[in-house]
Symmetry: C2
Subunit: 289 residues, 2 copies
């Protein structure tokens, strides 16, 4: 496994792979890897000849007062895990190289997609995401790029950007990976106290409620959301940020589930904000809630 920090060294490595006709796959991450990330790496390893994983805690997707400084890091462990997965290149750019003095360009998907759901409480977040992902796409020039379904809004926004800016890249998603009790894996789960960790089960449990209701033929969003809210409200350390049912492509709210739908929620458990979602493809369960 090559360990590359320098942008021009990365460029040579990618040119070499492309000249050999290899299919290049990219898995962008912020590190502190868990089984969710590794499932994407495995998917990339299976689908591509040359797998690049980037680890970059991107400052422009954190707002002042968010957890940029505290975001968990363990580079040594990450590199060992990626080595084990047979990754070809781990790309570790510096903030100074990604955002040198004078940097002054944004890639922005419209507020119709970026100001709702997580964008309500994190209004600049997705501009930071699309800008850094556009940069990583141009640096790595992958044929395929892999993103987790856990960050469903991010995935929709990146698909929009790729289509709109004509990136010649196939976007592939991997299903949410969960703990045994249903909690979706997240690097931020380490912030939870023992009690909060127990209460955090309410996110996947509320998606279970939604699944049960849809299974019974209850398809009005308002009713499903109401039941989910009640469950969260009855959990001591949990507070709803949002619970919404939207079109997974446009993120427009759906009054009623018909065809594809995304049931998405964000919940504060103590001071930690957690997200989870359930993607319905034509009313069939597609994810392991």
């Amino acid at each position: 496994m090559e360990r590359i920090s320098d942008i021009s060294v990365l460029n040579q490595s990618i040119e070499g792979a492309r000249r050999q006709g290899l299919t290049v796959g990219l898995v962008p991450t912020m590190g502190f890897l868990h089984r969710g990330h590794l499932s994407l790496v495995k998917a990339a390893r299976a689908a591509c000849d040359f797998v690049v994983v980037s680890i970059f805690v991107n400052p422009t997707q954190f707002a002042p007062g968010e957890d940029l400084e505290d975001y968990p890091r363990n580079l040594q462990r990450d590199e060992a895990l990626l080595q084990e997965e047979g990754v070809d290149v781990v790309f570790l750019p510096s903030v100074a190289d990604m955002y040198p003095r004078g940097f002054n360009t944004l890639v922005k998907v419209g507020e119709e997609m970026t100001s709702k759901l997580c964008g309500k409480s994190r209004p600049t977040h997705f501009n930071g995401v699309t800008t850094v992902v556009a940069k990583l796409f141009n640096l790595v020039r992958p044929h395929k790029a892999f993103f987790g379904q856990k960050d469903a809004q991010q995935l929709s926004i990146i698909r929009r950007m790729v289509k709109d800016l004509n990136f010649n890249i196939e976007i592939l998603s991997g299903p949410i990976v969960r703990e045994e009790d249903g909690l979706a894996l997240s690097s931020r789960n380490v912030y939870l106290s023992e009690e909060e960790r127990r209460d955090a089960r309410v996110l996947s449990q509320s998606l279970g409620v939604a699944r049960a209701m849809v299974g019974e033929g209850i398809l009005e969003s308002r009713r499903i959301i109401h039941e989910m809210q009640s469950l969260v409200a009855g959990t001591p350390r949990a507070r709803v940020d949002y619970i919404e049912i939207v079109d997974p492509e446009t993120l427009e709210p759906l009054e009623r589930i018909a065809g594809k739908a995304l049931v998405a929620l964000a919940v504060y458990v103590g001071k930690t904000r957690l997200i989870d979602n359930w993607l319905l493809e034509d009313q069939n369960v597609s994810d392991n809630v």
Copy 2:
């Protein structure tokens, strides 16, 4: 010469060229080609194995009330000229293919660069330019792209975008091409009446004044701009939009010429807005004013 409108056909053509190891050059244009465009095509032909010229009158860089509808077009003549220059592909996308329903992404360089000079009277113009150029870069994936020095602000903004988003593309500029009496070539010159055409000489003449003053060692921007303004003010059908002396990389105003400088102006001649500029490299004349 291949004549391609379809995006997937273009993609195959580019993949073919790249697989053969050819160097791809792109000259983006809005058509109605003049010797200025053709000088860029010749530069691309000399520097690249596979030359793509795009012709696309990009609606998103025109504001309501600007000349989108009237913008001059002569596709038959354009294609004949490009054929003569030995161009490999002329790419003619449709507006519907470039901006399909749901399109919702912008590439924005900061207002420090896009809201001054031409950006004052055209506040949305450069967002349209950077977005369509990013799209064309991803569609054509050139090694080198060619832009005219005539649109000096556009060139600075595109260089900024390319650097910031890590496009792996070399940006090359070609000098301003002029009529015998000094008028910079522009597709918009056809809008001028005979009298306006004579008065339009004042743009290059005022740059001549600037050059003469710098030659005499007068380097204060204020004094140079004042003389240029006086010359335009004495021209019947001409009205200054702006005259500025700026750093050509950052577009920050310079109080005094030292090192690189860009003397740039926009002048309404009748209802037609014309632009011109003089780029000084380290106080030496670099352009044929």
